[in-house]
Amino acid sequence: MTDTPPIKIRLDKLVKRFPGQARPAVEELSLEIPEGEILILVGPSGCGKTTTMKMINRLIEPTSGRILLDDEDVTHGDPDKLRRRIGYVIQQIGLFPHQTIAQNIATVPGLLGWSKERIAARVDELIGLVGMDPADYRDRYPKQLSGGQRQRIGVARAMSADPDVMLMDEPFGAIDPITRDRLQNEFLRLQAEIKKTIVFVTHDIDEAIKMGDRIAILREGSQIAQFDTPERILVNPADEFVSDFIGRGASLKRLSLSRVRDIEPSTWPTVTVGDDPAVARRTLEETDRGSLLVLDEHGAPRSWVTAEHLQRSSGIDGGLPVATVGSAATLSDTLNEMLTARYSTAVVVDDTGRYTGVVDIDTINEAIRGMRSAERERQRSSLAKGAAT
C-alpha cells in the first residue's frame, strides 16, 4: 500500500483489563492510524470500540501497551495536556448547559491562554464553519438549540483549538435520520477542507461505509477482524464475522461509495421549451429512445415528452416529471430517485441546475460490474506479487 499517508497515531499492544472482569475489554490491540484520514472503529456493542477510543485520550488508562501520537509516547505524562491537543465529540454532546455557545467553544482556547480577541474571532469563525450565524447564536444557551444545532456546536467546540486529532464517539447517533444524513454530508465536506486525523466510533456499518477512509471492524476484546478501505471490505470481507456484520445487501451498500461524478453519464436527445413541435417530432423519430427531455430556456430539465404528448398539444409542454440528481449524489441516492420517480432514468444537473447528462439502471449496473472486476484485478495482481517474491 504505497498510497498510505504518514502514521499519526500508533497503538502498540494496547491492553485494558477492568477490575473484576475475566476477559480484558481490549486485548493486545495494535493499530496504525494514517494522518488526515477518518478511521472508523465499528463493531457490535461490547466489542471494546469505545474503550479503545477513550484510551487514545486516556479518559481510560490502558493497563499496558503504548500510545504514540506523532511518534511521541503519550502513554505517560499529564493527560489533561494531552486532551487539550485532541478534539472530543460524544453522542450526548455534553455542552455545558450553564454556558453560552461562545463560552462553550472558548473552553479549550481559554485553558491554553489565548487572548480575548483571538478567542472571540475563533468562536465566530467556528460557528460559521459549522453552518450557523455567529451573531445569532453565540450568546444563546444550549437549551435554545435544536438537536442538530447542538451537535454542530459540539463539533465546533471540539475543533476550537485546531487539534490535529479528533475523537468522535457515535457523534450522530442520537439524531433523527434526515438530520443525521445532512450532518454527515456537512462533516465530510468540512473534513475535505480541514483534513484532521479522526477516530470515529460507531456501531452502524452504513455510517462506517459512508464516513470512513478506513474501517477497522472489531470483534470482542477489540480484536481487529478486518482493517481496510470500505470498498475492499465490501467486496472482499475477510471472514464470516465480517460478512455477517456487513449484513445483506453489500452490493447495494457499495452504491453509496460511488458518486454520479465518478461514472460516465450518457446523453439523451433534448428539446427546448420554445422549439417547434414539428422539429421535436422529427428528433423523436430519429432516436431509438422513446421520449425527449424538455429543457427550459436556462437549460434546466423540465419534463419528459413522448410522441403522445407531442401530438396532443400544439406547443412543447406538459409531459412526465423528471427526477434530477447533482453530481455529488451517491449512486445509492440516484437509484432511489429513479425508483421513487417510477422512471428508470435520472437526469444529472450541475450546480446551477443545468442538464449535463442522464444516468439509467444500465449505467449503474455497469458501475457495479466495474467495481467488481477492479477488485478481482487487484486480488489477482497481489497474488501474482506474492508468488513472485
Binding site: N57, L59, D80, K81, L82, R83, R84, Y88, I90, Q91, Q92, I93, G94, L95, F96, P97, H98, Q99, T100, T107, V108, L111, Y141, P142, K143, G154, R157, A158, L167
Partner: protein, 253 residues
C-alpha cells in the same frame, strides 16, 4: 407538542412579577392583623412587659443571630463535606458519614439541647451547636445530590477537553449544583428559624422566650404574638431563600 410542554415548563418555573408580591403582601397583612388585635386589647402588666416593640426587637435580633450563625456554620461545614463525599476517592466513607449526619437529625433537638446544657453549658453556643447538628443533613445531602445529578456526559466532555478534576468541579459541577444546594440551604434556614424557638429553654433568647412566658404565665395573647412572629419570620426567610434561588440560578438551565 414540544412548544406546549415548554410553555408549561416556563409557566411553572417563572413566577410573574405579581406572583412574587403575593407572599410579602400576605405576611404584612398578618402583621397588621396582629398589631390590630394587640392594640384593641387592654394589656395587663405581664403582657405589657413582653408585648412591646423594644422587647420584641431584642428577641427578634437574638432569634435572627441564632439562625444566621447556625446556618452560616452549616454552610461552611456541610457544603465542602458534601463536595468531598462525592469525590470518587471518598466513596468508601460516604455511607458512614451520612449515617453520622442522620443521627444528628434523628435525635430530637430538644433532647440534644438538654444534653448539651447538662454536659457543657447553657446559652448561645450550645444552642447553635444543637441547631447545626439538626439542620446540616439537608444541606449535605442536597450538595451531594446536586453534584451527582449533573449529567455525566457534561462531565465527561469536560474531562475529555482537558479540564482537570478541580476545574470540572468549579466550572461545571458546582455551578450546575447551585439550585439544588440553595434549596438545601433554604430548608436549613427554615428549620433553624423554627427550632431556634426552643433555644429559649437553655437561656439563648429569641421568640421562644415570648412563647414560653405566655405558656407559663397563662397569657394567650403573649403566646399568640410569639408564635405568629416566629411563623412570619420563617415564611419571610423561606421567601427570601426562593428569591435568592431565582436570582442565583445559573442562566441557561
Amino acid at each position: 407538542m414540544t412548544i406546549a410542554v415548554e410553555q408549561l415548563d416556563v409557566g411553572l418555573r417563572r413566577r410573574t412579577a405579581l406572583g412574587w408580591l403575593v407572599t410579602p403582601a400576605v405576611l404584612v397583612a398578618v402583621l397588621v392583623a396582629l398589631w390590630l388585635i394587640v392594640a384593641g386589647r387592654q394589656l395587663d402588666s405581664i403582657e405589657e412587659r413582653r408585648v412591646n416593640l423594644a422587647f420584641i426587637g431584642v428577641a427578634a435580633m437574638e432569634h435572627l443571630t441564632l439562625t444566621a450563625v447556625s446556618t452560616l456554620l452549616v454552610l461552611v461545614i456541610a457544603i465542602p463535606l458534601g463536595v468531598l463525599l462525592t469525590r470518587p476517592s471518598a466513596r468508601r466513607i460516604t455511607g458512614p458519614a451520612l449515617a453520622v449526619f442522620n443521627v444528628g437529625q434523628a435525635i430530637p433537638s430538644i433532647g440534644l439541647l438538654v444534653i448539651l446544657a447538662i454536659v457543657w453549658d447553657v446559652g448561645f453556643w450550645p444552642a447553635v451547636v444543637a441547631l447545626v447538628a439538626y439542620s446540616a443533613l439537608p444541606v449535605l445531602r442536597n450538595t451531594m445530590v446536586g453534584i451527582q445529578q449533573v449529567d455525566e456526559s457534561v462531565v465527561e466532555s469536560g474531562r475529555g477537553m482537558g479540564l482537570s478534576r478541580l476545574q470540572v468541579l468549579t466550572r461545571i459541577e458546582l455551578p450546575l449544583a447551585v439550585p439544588v444546594i440553595l434549596t438545601g440551604l433554604r430548608t436549613a434556614l427554615v428549620i433553624n428559624v423554627g427550632t431556634a424557638t426552643i433555644a429559649a429553654l437553655v437561656n439563648a433568647g429569641g421568640f421562644g422566650g415570648i412563647i414560653i412566658t405566655g405558656l407559663v404565665q397563662n397569657r394567650q395573647l403573649v403566646t399568640l404574638v410569639g408564635s405568629v412572629l416566629t411563623a412570619v419570620l420563617a415564611l419571610a426567610i423561606d421567601y427570601l431563600g426562593r428569591v435568592a434561588e431565582e436570582v442565583l440560578r445559573p442562566r441557561g438551565l
